[in-house]
């Protein structure tokens, strides 16, 4: 089947995405797009398919049917490495850092800077240390010692480092998968600051959560997913925080917005 890009100026345009695990249909024809320099809140209750959608985009799962356009190009993303090559950085909920490794090594994992001695390549440890401290400081994360192991740090500190790393390496798109679910109020606020910092750097952000309160402040647009279908896209100007929260829980679009949605779909 041939697919055409629907949103011309979008950074990411995912069209008619289907994902089946055996007979279980997790995603059933979702259209999802992210514009340039936009923060999208991807919302939905637990099990709605948010994480699966993102794992399709980042190459963890291959899609069953559908097409992804990135930067106006049709792309096939087969591995996390492919996604990274495109400029997509992801902070996963559960698998962000290696606890027994130092901050610097975690920071550079998978793309370590090296110098060459003859045919051999060695890690540039000095640069790894100084650059990671500097890069984290740029987004407002101050660490004492880049040789400290991540296992000794608190959940908030770890999340900060994972996000700082993603902001540093991310070229075009930053995906945050439930970044605030285990954080205190203060730490959540920090994560929101990093998100804005990423946007100011010129990146787009997908912020996945099931808790609207965490994202309403910073997001430009909300995409709500409900049992493998998309409920709709809503700009922040159109909806209130409570309406979005209701939609996530009930899976129903309120009367007021339904007309608007149909108009949108019409053009």
């Amino acid at each position: 089947m041939e697919y055409k890009q629907k949103n011309d100026n979008a950074l990411v345009d995912m069209i008619d995405i289907h994902k089946y695990f055996g007979s279980v249909q997790v995603l059933r024809g979702i259209d999802f797009h992210v514009d340039r320099q936009e923060i999208v809140g991807l919302l939905g209750d637990n099990g709605a398919g948010k994480s699966t959608l993102i794992k399709v985009l980042t190459g963890f799962h291959s899609l069953t049917r559908g097409q992804i356009f990135f930067d106006d190009q049709a792309v096939n993303i087969h591995s996390p490495h492919d996604a990274r090559e495109l400029g997509i950085e992801t902070v996963h909920q559960d698998l962000a850092l290696v606890p027994l490794m130092s901050i610097a090594r975690n920071f550079w994992l998978g793309q370590e800077p090296t110098y060459e001695v003859g045919p051999f390549r060695f890690l540039d440890k000095k640069m790894m240390a100084s650059e990671s401290i500097q890069a984290l400081a740029d987004v407002g994360i101050h660490i004492r010692d880049s040789e400290e192991t991540v296992g000794t740090m608190s959940g908030g500190e770890r999340q900060s480092i994972a996000i700082g790393r993603a902001v540093y390496f991310g070229k075009k798109l930053l995906i945050l998968d439930e970044p605030t679910s285990a954080l205190s109020v203060g730490e959540t606020q920090k994560v929101l600051d990093y998100t804005i910092a990423a946007k100011e750097k010129g990146m787009s952000v997908i912020f996945i959560t099931h808790n609207i309160r965490h994202v309403y402040e910073v997001a430009d647009r909300f995409t709500i997913i409900e049992r493998g279908h998309k409920l709709g896209d809503f700009y922040k100007s159109e909806v209130s925080e409570n309406e979005v929260a209701d939609m996530i829980v009930t899976g129903q679009i309120p009367e007021r917005l339904r007309l608007y949605e149909e108009e949108e779909g019409g053009d």
Partner: protein, 704 residues
């Protein structure tokens, strides 16, 4: 007090001067010891005859260390005398080292006495009456008191442990739980533990006193010489004053902010913090303890020939342990290395005697390469099975362990041994031209000279700068430069020694054969006795018997350790190994190809096992069907002692080296001490658990 001293107040000068004088005294003492040992006044261990030219290994080490120690003490005393703030830190370190030296000397008297006495007590049931008759009432009283105290303590400890276990086992009865007695048993207060320890040590001292009195009385057991009693005096002279001075200097912390900052990192804390960073803390502590223990317990332990034999015994297993460490860090492990070793050894031998499938009967080098290729295939089978089926590696390699073993069992019919000598009349020999040795020696000299020229000046500058900075602020971070300089100098010295050895080989064979061609056995090149390739062994007046079992595999082993250590710690491949074992999901999310890393590691293990198999076969050119059985667990034991976590993500190659060394030292040392070698596996069992517990304790809350 000390603060006032550094500010130059007159009334406070006493205590500072006292400490300075004490440290000066230690310097003199260290120098006296070095002098006494070097000139034969104080013999340590066995020596051939009392001439100052033939120091044995222990004496050489003691002399050098004492001189360095003495120099450091002088520097510290001078710093204290001239009222440099930084010298306080120095003096703390020197006092700490002095306490350690004193303790070591005391132990060096106590361990042999205790050991010999216990062995005596075990051997002679009528010893007590003999003691009462010969050594007098005092010794037998000390023995009774010592034994009584020790057994009381052990009894109390056992009782408390048993009661605690019972309290833990029975369901919590409300009335029982709140009783103070229960709490006392479940978590004994500090005072109680200290009291038990104090009584125990008094008992041990009594026991030792009795031993010191009794052991010389026994004909054939009189190895406690006067020298050992002199050592007791020296040990006390070092230990007691340094211990009290260390306590005094530590109390200075309270007096001013500046000093508190300077002293925040006491030697104990410094060592602990640095050990906690190292994956192989337990192995380091264990290595030092076991090395010191055996050195003190028997004079034979540091003899070049016993060191050589224990190194040779573990070198091949040590090579495998490197690979197993890699695999374990990446979160998998391999039970099939023993079988892979058997298959590789069999193939190697078979290719040389019966012929390889395509090539026919081949020479040793081609046979070795083909055999290692077979090991590569076996490792790849392990890896592919693991990543394609996703079965735990325990199951996969348990299966392949049994399956690969079948190959040797089928290939070599019942109970036979495939021997090289059954098919060939003599061992394979290669003729090497003298020129090759000459060229190697010239290249070696070139490398040494070039490295020295490039590296040493910078290192010297760094070290001297650090030395001068230290005078001002006592910052111990600068000591890295000095250590680096020393280590590089040492490496250069070793390289130089190899070059000298090459030249010696050249001159020896040049004169022996008279011609141009030197004949060297192929097997000797793989894993021969180094000193038999070379000339008469006489290194810097240290007598090394020529038949000492220094195998070439030891050299290969150390080279492999160096290479694999660098790869693990300083390349992106090493980084991805740690990540794969530490958090597979995170590694995958960051674009690390986890499956490839695991496959690579299985292949690395198999290749190293193949190389080890060549060493084994070269050392003893015969293969039986059960070759390598049981090696897998021994190698895993070495790796675990070395600090690798079974769960992955943590470990080091140097740790595996230390683990293998501990293994070898125990194997040789237990025999030399006179303890039955049947106790070996029991000891290793205890050591494994102790090492892992130590690793966990030292690492503290870091693991997560």
């Amino acid at each position: 007090m000390m603060q006032a001293y550094f500010e130059g107040k007159r009334e406070a000068s006493n205590i500072g001067m006292l400490v300075a004088g004490l440290i000066f005294g230690f310097a003199i003492l260290g120098f006296l010891i070095a002098y006494g040992v070097a000139f034969g006044w104080v013999p340590l261990g066995e020596r051939i005859d009392i001439l100052r030219s033939d120091l044995n290994t222990i004496e050489t080490i003691v002399t050098v260390v004492s001189l360095i120690y003495s120099a450091c003490c002088l520097r510290t005393a001078y710093g204290l005398y001239s009222r440099e703030q930084a010298s306080l830190r120095w003096s703390q370190w020197m006092l700490f080292v002095t306490v350690m030296i004193g303790g070591a000397i005391l132990l060096s008297v106590a361990i042999p006495v205790g050991l010999k006495f216990s062995l005596l007590l075990g051997q002679h049931s009528d010893l007590r009456t003999v003691i009462a008759a010969d050594a007098g009432g005092l010794a037998s009283m000390a023995l009774s008191i010592g034994e009584a105290l020790i057994s009381i303590c052990l009894f109390v400890i056992a009782l408390v442990a048993l009661l605690a276990l019972l309290v833990f086992l029975i369901p919590p009865l409300e009335s029982l739980r709140d009783r103070p007695g229960t709490r006392l048993i479940v978590s004994p207060p500090r005072k109680f533990i200290q009291a038990i320890l104090a009584v125990l040590s008094v008992g041990v001292v009594c026991f030792l006193v009795a031993g010191a009195a009794v052991v010389p009385e026994f004909p054939g057991q009189t190895t406690i010489r006067d020298a050992e009693n002199h050592r007791l005096l020296a040990g006390l002279l070092f230990f007691l004053p340094a211990f009290f001075a260390y306590r005094v200097v530590r109390q200075v912390e309270e007096q001013s902010d500046e000093l508190r900052r300077a002293l925040a990192l006491t030697p104990g804390k410094y060592i602990r913090a640095n050990l906690a960073k190292s994956p192989s803390a337990g192995a380091i502590i264990g290595f030092i303890a076991i090395l010191m223990g055996f050195t003190m317990a028997t004079d034979l332990f540091l003899e070049p020939s016993s060191v050589a034999s224990f190194l040779s015994n573990v070198a091949t297993k040590g090579v495998i342990a490197i690979g197993v460490t890699y695999l374990m860090i990446s979160g998998e492990f391999d039970l099939s290395v023993g079988s892979i070793l058997g298959v590789t050894a069999l193939s190697f031998m078979n290719f040389m005697t019966h012929g390889a499938p395509v090539f026919g009967v081949v020479g040793p080098v081609s046979a070795a390469l083909l055999a290692i290729f077979i090991a590569f295939i076996l490792g790849a089978i392990n890896g592919v099975l693991l990543i394609s089926t996703r079965i735990p590696s325990f199951i996969v390699t348990l299966g392949t362990m049994l399956a690969f073993r079948a190959i040797t069992l089928v290939a070599i019919a019942g109970g036979r041994i495939l021997r090289y000598s059954d098919h060939h009349e003599s061992l394979p020999v290669i003729g090497i031209s003298n020129i090759v040795f000459l060229v190697l020696a010239v290249i070696g000299i070139g490398v040494v000279a070039f490295t020295a020229y490039r590296v040493l000046p910078a290192l010297y500058r760094g070290a001297s700068q650090a030395w001068s900075i230290r005078r001002d602020n006592g910052d111990f971070g600068t000591s890295g430069a000095i250590v680096r300089g020393a280590v590089f100098a040492l490496i250069l010295a070793i390289l130089l020694a190899i070059v000298i050895w090459l030249v010696a080989v050249l001159s020896y064979h040049g004169s022996a054969s008279g011609g141009q061609i030197v004949e060297v056995g192929y097997f000797d090149l793989f894993n021969g006795r180094v000193l038999q390739i070379g000339s008469e062994g006489d290194f810097f007046h240290m007598q090394i018997p020529r038949n000492a079992n220094v195998r070439l595999a030891i050299v290969w082993w150390f080279i492999f350790v160096a290479i694999f250590h660098v790869v693990l710690t300083s390349t992106s491949f090493g980084n991805s190994i740690f990540a794969t074992g530490g958090n597979e999901g995170a590694a995958r999310a960051q674009g690390v190809n986890v499956d490839r890393v695991k496959l690579q590691n299985f292949v690395i293990v198999a290749l190293l096992t193949g190389i080890a198999a060549i060493y084994e076969t070269a050392r003893n050119p015969g293969v039986d069907p059960l070759k390598g059985t049981g090696w897998e667990l021994e190698v895993i034991a070495m790796t675990v002692i070395g600090g690798a976590l079974l769960t992955g993500g943590y470990g080091s190659v140097v740790g595996s080296l230390l683990g293998a060394l501990i293994f070898g030292m125990l194997q040789t040392g237990l025999v030399l001490v006179g303890i039955e070698s049947r106790l070996f596996s029991g000891t290793i069992g205890v050591i494994i658990i102790a090492a892992v517990v130590l690793n966990t304790l030292v690492r503290g809350g870091q693991r997560n």
